[in-house]
């Protein structure tokens, strides 16, 4: 112990050492929920591959579909896996990790003991959010990683063919995949902040997770109504697929910049609300 303990606290107690990330990470990683979620994401590409192997060849339509494209190379397969999961599965995963933070502790009644330890409230929220972010990023990396492995094994290490018909060498293609995981990380921050806020205001983990997913789905539905025109730009999911621009040899950063800005705006507002609410909340769970 280098820093002296405060006069009013128990020996060895320092607020900055409470609920360290390693501790919270251990608490979460030992959960079946975490293990199963990450495991399923790692398994998803294999399931996709199985589905492709069993699927009958459809009637000749004269044009190539994205599913045809997915079977061209490992990188294409990984891109397909990202496309299929970005708008729902990954939203659910992020909502799960963040919506569970406070609400599950509340439902186990362990929240009050953590707060009475005392872990300062802002710190508790921050540490739990950081660990949820680490798990989310892990999920966002496991998916393309596993998809690349499965894809390489099943379809070889060929070039990436983008939906716009361009080809990218496998090396840069993997880099683009990483970048798209990075974009999704930033873009899903709005889901994270919303789930965190819901987790703070409700004691039911399912309510927090489901609420965040529901808002995402409503936003996606509204986004399909073209009559809304410019208003759709404000929907948090409007730029959810902007990372597809990364698949061109010349990257158009426009929509991705707008998407990150939109997501961070929502995340900042919702996250600030979560902190504000949690700092003032009477813990009755």
């Amino acid at each position: 112990m280098t820093a002296p303990t405060r006069a009013d606290a128990a020996p060895g107690y320092r607020p900055g050492r409470t609920l360290r990330l390693s501790v919270e990470l251990r608490r979460q990683l030992k959960r079946r929920r975490t293990q199963v979620t990450l495991g399923l994401i790692a398994l998803l590409p294999a399931l996709l591959w199985l589905a492709f192997s069993f699927a009958e060849q459809g009637p000749a339509t004269g044009s190539i579909s994205v599913v045809d494209l997915a079977q061209r190379s490992g990188t294409n397969f990984a891109v397909f896996a990202m496309f299929t999961s970005a708008t729902f599965l990954l939203v659910v995963v992020v909502a799960l990790f963040f919506g569970d933070t406070i609400a599950s502790e509340a439902s186990w009644s362990s929240l009050r003991y953590l707060l009475a330890t005392p872990v300062p409230r802002a710190r508790l929220l921050r540490q739990k959010a950081l660990v949820a972010a680490m798990l989310s990023v892990a999920a966002l990396l496991v998916l393309p990683g596993s998809a690349l492995l499965v894809g390489w094994a099943a379809y070889g290490g060929g070039d990436l063919i983008s939906p716009a018909g361009e080809t990218l060498d496998p090396g840069p293609a993997v880099l683009r995949l990483l970048l798209s995981a990075g974009y999704l990380t930033l873009h899903l921050s709005w889901v994270a902040a919303l789930a965190l806020l819901l987790s703070v205001v409700t004691d039911a983990p399912l309510g927090a997770v489901g609420g965040a997913v529901m808002v995402s789905i409503v936003s996606q539905i509204l986004d399909t109504i073209t009559a809304l025109e410019g208003l759709r730009d404000y929907l948090p999911t409007h730029y959810a697929t902007a990372w597809a621009d990364l698949l061109a040899s010349q990257i158009d950063w426009g929509d991705m910049t707008r998407g990150v800005f939109s997501a961070l705006s929502y995340a900042a507002v919702l996250g600030a609300l979560a902190v504000w609410r949690f700092a003032r909340k009477d813990i009755t769970s």
Partner: protein
Amino acid sequence: MPPPRRPRRLTPGRPLAAILVLVLVGAATVAFLARDRSGPAEVPTQDLTLNVPAGPGQSGTVALDTTVYLPERTPAPAVLVAHGFGGSKASVDADARELADRGFVALAWSARGFGRSTGQIALNSPEHEVADASRLLDHLATRPEVSRDAPGDPRVGVTGGSYGGALSLMLAGYDRRVDAIAPVITWNDLGQALFPNNAVPNGVPEAGATPAATPFAPNGIFKRSWAGIFFSAGLAARPAVRGPSGIAPEAGSDGSGADAEAEDDAADAAADSRLLAIDPSRRDPAAPPPSVCGRFVAAVCAGYLEAATTGVLSPATADVLRRSSPVSVTDRITAPTLLVQGESDTLFGLDQADATARQIAAAGGTVDVVWFAGGHDGGAPGPVVRDRIGSWFDRYLGRPGVEPRPPGPAPAAGLTYAVQSGIRGESRNTPSVRSVTAEAYPGLPGAAPVARRDVALRGEPAEVLNPPGANPAAITSVPGVGGALGRLAGQLSAITAELPGQSAGFSTDPLPEQLLVAGSPRLRITVGRVPGQPSGPEAVLFGRIAEVTPDGRSTLLGGAVAPLRVAVPPGDRPAELTVALPAVVAPIEPGHRLVVTVATTDQSFQGADQPAVWRIGTAGPEPALAVPVVPGRNVTANTVPAGPASGIGLIVAGVLVAWLVARFTRRRPGPTVDGPAPQERLPLVIEGLRKSYPGGVVAVADVSFAMRPNQVLGLLGPNGAGKTTVLRMLMGLIRPSGGSIRVFGHPISPGAPVLSRIGSFVEGPGFLPHLSGLDNLRLYWAATGRPDADAHLDEALEIAGLGKAVHRRVRTYSQGMRQRLAIAQAMLGLPDLLVLDEPTNGLDPPQIHAMREVLRRYATGGRSVLVSSHLLAEVEQTCGDVVVMHHGRVVADGPVADIVAGGGKATFRVDDPTRAAEVLRGADGVSEVELDEQSVHADLNGMPRSEAVGRLVGAGVAVSAAGPRRRLEDAFLQLVGEDNTP
């Protein structure tokens, strides 16, 4: 034991609704993401009819129906917007509005013979339509809204599609006042467009160093389907062709919305024309009655009739068409020219724009070329291409607020082409498109000739039959339908293009890598006679190129065919020629093959009537397909937008500032404690504590009490007395509405460091069910961040007494086990103040007994224990002191014995209870005498117990024991009244 009256909590649905609203409101506040997606702006317009001379050798005038669109700021340069064949000024209304919205004065007019304009169609003849446009320039020069280069010389550009595009080029060739032009999907040589011949005879030098060049060989084959549509548009009042319908897909746009608008405009234009057709009063009385020639001037009509009946282009007709073609003036065009040509265009293909670009550049003009994913078979230019056209006029005309490009050496001609991948996206049905730009147009002066990649071809020579009358004929394209249907033509043709015995095919091997075809592929073939079979002096053949997938699906590139007229010398020697296949842009995927077929018939063209059989093979020892490629870089629609990018910076900076502010304003108490010295501070002092919830519910009304070191204090009260709320406030979970709590002299607030000296077990255990009991304790201690050695884990485990079960998951524990584990957790680190809420719930009697011992031993060495319970016996047996709470208030406070004795009741163990009762009843003030088997109880009302004993003994009753009546229940009921069941 949940408090019976909790504050009103949000139901799960309400925060959701609140947050949905919040999200939508938040959406509206992110204001500068907003982009204007509205349609053509409201611009002021002015309709007027201009009378122009009818033409050389003709008397009278022709009335041109015009509309002027005015921009916000004037004077501004003007742009003439010419319509396509069969259209009218109404069909370019949207384009004109867009240009006016951009800042130009736009002038749209109906060409003579179209719309409400009078006169006859002279097919862009220099003396008629081109002269008309010059008169429009005269008019513009007189308008104050139009900026001028010189008196009578307005600053003006010209644009238009198809017929209007040709007029742009022609006007630029005939009128030096034109400053810039942007012709769209138009012809270079109408004779070549309607009578193409893509055969380059052997020995004739290859003209095309440019990617899309076709030989423009003489003696072409009549493109009868398109010519018929073209001509009939001038016959009927209602146009049969109005240029492409719909918008071509392009990079960076989803194409929604604008499409519908364009369709509406086109429909309006059509309705307008129909109105003219049925309302005789609105027709030009001078117009001739319906005839074979319709509204065409005689020379044009005669030419068409001749061509349509003979299928041959006579020199006279060729001359008429040439005078109507930009090729006659391209060597004089100095106005900077942006050529926009469609990749889906079987009427005016890429080769037409290629020829125009070649001719203008050869004469030293400034030219730039855009190939977009549309055309007469595809769609009209989309917003990106239209913006490109607008920028062209910005650059060469300037406009208020935009300086034109200063004069200087012309920039090299560039080429931008759209690549349609043909891969269907997830949700969109339109193919994905990207845009590729080559800095230099290959083959133009100053640029290297186009690179061609040779791909080996396989295929045995085949004998093909030309059926008599060239019927049945292969159907490769459906001209004039436009839009999505036109784009389908390439796929449709795969089914109808191959008639048995009529074609010879040559295929490449599957391509090892993607090949982006950009231009006209070349192939050398031989055409020979078959002994014993009929054959004429020349063969009419049709070359096609298709992409074939591994599973046999075939797509005709560009939906186009290359007609060939080949003179075959008599005898056995075959003719050898180079075939310039249609100029296309197509990405060929790896593993796909390119297949060239040479067929004898095509529905769109006038085939050879005489039956014949030809032997067709590839020429040369190593037959190869020379595929033009134009390397370039992909163009992205835009760079990083400044607004959102700086917005991201602001958010990051804001979060950083908030974090720093929070860090430096963090409460730092410590030596600020007032009152007595640390060693004298009491473990717990509660003063005037109050908690009320919104809505008037008061959980704790007024609670004050204090604890001494080494004390075991009981907090006793019925359910709902407010005990748990007090404890929650003590733990910093709930903010008091009033009063204060001090622990060892330090005020309690959420997260106060002094909380680390309290060990608590309140309202049941709280464990992570997926972890073992041991892991729970370890991780809990780890979460405190305090040294492991301070935990005293072994002692705590001993108290929990779980044995081996400590390694099992907590979810498998019984309630008693959880209870004990929770008490053990509260004791981790041996806190100075231990707070236990109903600690003996779920414990069996021996465990309860042991627990009492533990607590008594714990409260030594300055440590204290606060036990809350609603069980009287519990408190009575465990605690030395008690605080009794009821309805949120302290109703009694003191040593248990005092509280118990406070009522003054006494119990005497006697040998004769009946006698003893009589004695006591006889004593003054003694009341409520009760008796049972061995004892008598009485309220002595102030009489000392010793005196009562003396009286009993004096009365001959043997007293074996005397003491206070040890039933806390009595005292408790007396304190809280009878209404303790809520």
